[in-house]
């Protein structure tokens, strides 16, 4: 399956140039926006990030939550004209709790500031070497937080320098047409202008082939994905 990064580049180009989608003006001509919804089924094994064997430790490490939800993200590969200007960046939070990044997957628009509070009674050191956002927040104690603004679209893999089993994904979009799946794998992208789009599902670094979706005037369209 193709890796995800090129799709984000396409998303950016499409959003800026208005290419690849029916050039529908948002809320123009009396047309009402629609919805794309459906389900993402993940059939491949997605094990949680375990610790490396703690052979050099004097004792067993603390127990961690073993069932971290590995959400999928569904997004429009090509966004409508004007989508880029429509983004409304805000703030998001990726907590560090029980030696785990919570949530494991964060989907945001460009310009969003993400806070990384430390809720553990041990040091963490959040860093990323991903091209869209290279950063190293250093070590800071419980109760402290540091923040990063994400200005470039793409996939940002986040790690802790002290705890190699801690990792997370931040998917940064240049448009607002994306959604995270819930516990059942259901997703819903709201407020999509009528038109034809290519839609992609992503899960833990694996993307689906793009699927066409026709969004009718003021109605919903169903689109399911299967990721192996």
């Amino acid at each position: 399956m193709p890796r995800t990064l090129p799709f984000f580049v396409l998303v950016t180009i499409a959003a800026v140039l208005g290419d690849g989608a029916i050039p529908t003006e948002l809320h123009a001509g009396g047309m009402a926006n629609g919805i794309i919804r459906g389900r993402v089924e993940v059939r491949r094994t997605t094990t949680n990030s375990d610790r490396r064997p703690t052979v050099a430790s004097l004792g067993a490490p603390p127990e961690r939550e073993r069932t971290i939800p590995k959400q999928s993200v569904v997004y429009l590969q090509s966004a409508p004209r004007g989508a880029f200007e429509q983004t409304d960046p805000g703030r998001a939070v990726m907590d560090q709790r029980n030696e785990t990044f919570v949530p494991h997957v964060l989907a945001i628009t460009t310009g969003t500031i993400v806070d990384f509070p430390n809720s553990d009674r041990i040091y963490h050191n959040v860093f990323s070497l991903s091209k869209p956002a290279k950063f190293d927040l250093g070590r800071y104690p419980v109760g402290r937080s540091r923040a990063i603004r994400f200005d470039r679209p793409g996939i940002v893999r986040v790690f802790c320098d002290i705890h190699s089993h801690m990792n997370a994904f931040i998917l940064v979009f240049s448009h607002p047409y994306f959604a995270l799946t819930d516990g059942e794998g259901q997703y819903r992208i709201n407020d999509v202008p009528p038109g034809t789009y290519q839609v992609v599902a992503w899960n833990e670094g694996v993307t689906s082939d793009p699927k066409p979706a026709v969004v009718p005037d003021g109605a919903a369209t169903e689109l399911d994905f299967l990721l192996r």
Binding site: R52, P53, V55, L58, G59, Y123, S128, G138
Partner: protein, 418 residues
């Protein structure tokens, strides 16, 4: 005996480095995380490192070998020309018991079990563990992080690697014999015990773990560990060779987040029974002992990490002939190291290290029983990926004795782990 030719090993190290770099280009071919199977009961991890260093100094042309044997861990093995594969595994056999092992090969030699033990946690909610088998050392701070991915530089602190002339299977009959071996820890020989020249012992052996039982308890503030093992810090063993046991322990406190203060103690007989008998001691004599005390401190905040550790070791050996050896034979090793992350993925690090020794009286001279060594190492580490690190370091060694008193070494190390 001349230094062993490294041509074959060099090829292995270079090939390994190329393979790792090629692997970096095709990320999908390398596991990025530990391999977990058996419904989460079995976890496999690994560390692979390729290290190549060139010595510079008087009489060394081009990329020379470590002719001063400053970084050797045995007569054959040097830390600066090494290709190491470490595979570790943990198997959960139930809620209260796990089995852990680590298999290691250096330069593709026969793999050896570096660790093999059972970890028992009697109460699931209490941080109290009993570990039985070939266990991690209780003593010191560096002894549990000798992995290339944990070591901020390429060389090890002198206390954990530098070979003194003392051996566990051969002992000096008098102080003149001991003084003759100053600065020759890579290949020393004494008249009591095995006369074959062999490598000496470091203060604490970080390349081999001891066998025994360990008890560990921890709270957020205090961490305590105590062990009873067959070998000693200087000579860890799988099978007992002298009937004596080493007792060691460590207490660490964390008064505030980021600050760790630790102190350690260890005492045990370090020489083999055969050499004790040869020296005229009874078969179960435990007077050939190593006693060690250690103190360590670590402080980190933001992008800084600073550590300091000192190890004081005192050995007692039999007094066989005159001029007798002034006992105990003491050694004090002190290292201070620091790391600063300059930008994401790039850090600079430096370590200052000194190993000093007590003086003894020979027939004609009074001086340290081993040649004091001072080492400064500085380097950078660059993360090519989150689990692929390239280190480059320069190390300067000064020794008050031996064939090569001063040596500079430039080394590069590529480390991959999952």
């Amino acid at each position: 005996m001349p230094p062993k030719p490294y041509r074959g090993r060099s090829r292995v190290i270079v090939l390994a480095a190329v393979a790792l770099l090629t692997g970096a280009r095709t990320y999908a071919q390398l596991p990025g995380e530990p391999i977990v199977f058996g419904d989460g009961r079995v976890t496999l991890g690994g560390d692979v490192s390729a290290t190549y260093g060139c010595a510079h100094g008087q009489g060394i042309a081009g990329c020379g070998e470590d002719v001063g044997f400053f970084n050797y861990t045995s007569y054959d093995d040097s830390l600066i020309r090494n290709f190491r594969i470490d595979l570790s595994a943990s198997v959960k056999a139930g809620e209260h018991i796990s089995f852990l092992t680590e298999i290691r090969t250096d330069n593709l030699d026969t793999p050896q079990p570096y660790a093999l033990y059972a970890r028992i946690r009697p109460w699931r909610d209490r941080r109290f563990d009993i570990q039985i088998g070939r266990i991690p050392p209780s003593f010191g701070a560096f002894s549990r992080r000798p992995y290339p991915s944990d070591n901020m530089l390429i060389g090890y602190p002198l206390a954990y690697q530098y070979l003194t002339s003392l051996r566990s299977d051969a002992l000096p009959a008098n102080s003149d014999e001991l003084l003759r071996m100053r600065g020759r820890g890579w290949l020393s020989s004494f008249s009591v015990g095995d006369p074959t020249p062999r490598a000496g012992l470091p203060l604490v052996n970080a390349l081999s773990w001891d066998t025994g039982v360990q008890v560990h308890a921890a709270t957020d503030l205090v961490d305590v560990a105590a062990s009873v093992t067959t070998g000693t810090l200087t000579k860890p063993l799988v099978r007992d060779n002298n009937g004596g046991k080493q007792v060691s322990g460590r207490v660490a406190v964390q008064p505030v987040q980021g600050l760790i203060l630790g102190t350690s103690l260890a005492r045990g007989p370090f020489a083999a029974r055969d050499v004790a008998v040869t020296a005229g001691l009874s078969t179960d004599d435990r007077s050939i002992t190593q006693t060690a005390w250690g103190a360590d401190i670590e402080y980190s905040r933001g992008h800084y990490l600073v550590r300091a550790e000192t190890v004081l070791s005192a050995w007692r050996v039999p007094l066989v002939r005159t001029p007798v050896i002034d006992l105990p034979l003491r050694a004090v090793a002190t290292s201070i190291e620091g790391r600063y992350r300059v930008v994401p993925g790039l850090y600079g690090a430096m370590r200052w290290d000194h190993l000093g020794f007590s003086e003894i009286q020979g027939s004609t001279v009074r001086r340290e029983w081993e040649a004091p060594v001072t080492r400064i190492e500085a380097g950078i580490g660059y993360s090519l990926m989150h689990n692929l690190l390239l280190k480059v370091a320069y190390q300067h060694n000064d020794r008050d004795g031996g064939r090569v008193p001063t040596l500079g070494i430039t080394a590069a190390q590529l480390v991959y782990w999952f």
